[in-house]
């Protein structure tokens, strides 16, 4: 009887596979594969705080973070992002042109990414690096050509984040605050799912996206608290986080051709914003089962770039304003953190 059921089961599966194969195989035969070629299915959000891209916010002021020795507030900082998305393999139903799918078709591909996000203080002795966040992982992107110069994109990311306090910062903080300095090992795996709509109208390029980032396994704490972790606090037991999903939205508006306002004709201007409903970490909750507070955290940047790589190459001067939960490592327990500055970034 068991053998009989297995035969039926196998026959059914074979039939389903055969039908699916007959339908899908010609489609993939007609399409085009690509390997290690750039595609613009789902560009990183310029204002994305932890997107894999290159930003050097070199002249900036930010609120003081915990355990800095000097009380000056606000203070001069650097905020550096160094990251890249590397295309690996993909397939398109009707080819692509200038990196986007064409002829009403669709495409899908896999990328790997790696990024570093560092903040350095310039007020304390030796200008310590306060914190560096490391992210790496893989992503799948899908793009559909909706026609009339508009596209719909989807992105699924599986990644890991590890955060590290700077050594000079830690050593001096431990000396200055022996009774309160704590080291929280913020390290987690995550999935990020997002959708993007993009439209080119005349010389305007619009895009809007929304998504969510969740810990993996679902419900897992953003930081380690077990005995084997390096989380260490003289204040008392560190309670795991309960929130595990942060929704977000972002938008970018770009205008190509700024000669009408006296700028070179190959310059474009852009404004990009991200709003994320961030969790405010609370390492010493009175009720370990309670959820963390949240704060809408806004990051807005505006800049200029050369679309032809002429005068400025790919370098883009920009202004950035951030307000909300401190996005750096264990300092995500700080609400109403504000950062304002100017810098250079590498634009797509």
């Amino acid at each position: 009887m068991t053998l009989h059921i297995s035969w039926r089961c196998c026959a059914f599966r074979a039939a389903v596979l055969a039908v699916v194969g007959v339908i899908v195989a010609p489609t993939f035969c007609m399409g085009q594969w690509w390997v290690l070629e750039g595609r613009r299915y789902f560009d990183p959000l310029p204002a994305g705080v932890r997107e894999a891209q290159v930003n050097a916010l070199a002249l900036a002021m930010a609120d003081r973070v915990s355990f800095l020795r000097d009380d000056k507030d606000p203070r001069q900082v650097w905020d550096i992002d160094l990251g890249v998305e590397m295309p690996v393999l993909g397939w398109e139903s009707d080819g692509s042109e200038s990196g986007t799918v064409a002829n009403g078709g669709w495409g899908a591909g896999g990328w790997i990414f790696i990024s570093f996000h560092m903040m350095e203080d310039f007020i304390d002795d030796s200008s310590p690096i306060i914190n560096t966040d490391y992210r790496f992982g893989a992503m799948v992107k899908v793009q559909l050509d909706l026609g009339n110069q508009s596209w719909l994109g989807f992105r699924g990311v599986v990644g890991h984040e590890s955060t590290h306090l700077g050594d000079e910062f830690s050593i001096r903080a431990q000396e200055a605050f022996p009774d309160t300095f704590e080291r929280i090992n913020v390290t987690w795996e995550y999935v990020d799912l997002a959708a993007l709509w993009k439209k080119v109208a005349g010389t305007w390029i619009w895009s809007a996206r929304g998504g969510l980032t969740a810990t993996v396994p679902f419900g897992k704490s953003y930081y380690s608290t077990d005995a084997a972790s390096v989380t260490d606090s003289p204040i008392g037991p560190v309670t795991p986080s309960k929130n595990s999903v942060d929704p977000y939205a972002g938008a970018t508006l770009e205008k190509e051709g700024l000669e009408r306002i006296g700028l070179p004709e190959d310059w474009s201007g852009y404004v990009s914003g991200e709003a994320r409903f961030r969790s405010v970490f609370d390492y010493h909750k009175t009720d370990p089962e309670s959820s963390e507070d949240r704060q809408i955290s806004i990051n807005v940047i505006g800049g200029l770039k050369s679309v032809e790589g002429g005068v400025m190459g790919r370098v883009s001067p920009f202004v950035r304003f951030y307000h909300g939960v401190n996005p750096h490592g264990q300092f995500r327990d700080q609400k109403c953190f504000t950062l304002l500055g100017v810098g250079l970034r590498l634009a797509l």
């Binding site: 690509w34 070629e37 080819g95 692509s96 002829n103 080119v200 010389t203």
Partner: protein
């Protein structure tokens, strides 16, 4: 059936897909169609505005130059395509 000169479409395709040395005819036609759909209306407008003779060769060369632009808007891409075209004035080998 190509909208632009086949060899020019091949140049543009090879420039964008450097790993595909010998694209199939179907791939090339698909790419040619994508270029046409995205750029041709703007090419027509800007060629007329600039007084450029509307020949298949001129149209194809402007499409090629525009395809190499890093801009995203067709209007901007064709503007740069026309600018390069006027700079080099390519000669049609088969007028």
């Amino acid at each position: 059936m190509f909208n632009y000169d086949r060899n020019v479409a091949l140049m543009a395709y090879r420039a964008e897909h450097p790993q595909k040395r010998r694209p199939s005819e179907a791939d090339l036609e698909s790419y040619d169609q994508a270029l046409f759909a995205r750029l041709d209306a703007e090419i027509t407008n800007q060629m007329a505005a600039k007084g450029i003779a509307d020949t298949p060769f001129n149209r194809s060369m402007i499409a090629f130059f525009a395809s190499r632009s890093k801009a995203q808007a067709a209007k901007t891409r064709v503007k740069f395509g026309v600018r390069y075209f006027e700079s080099v004035i390519p000669v049609d080998p088969c007028p």
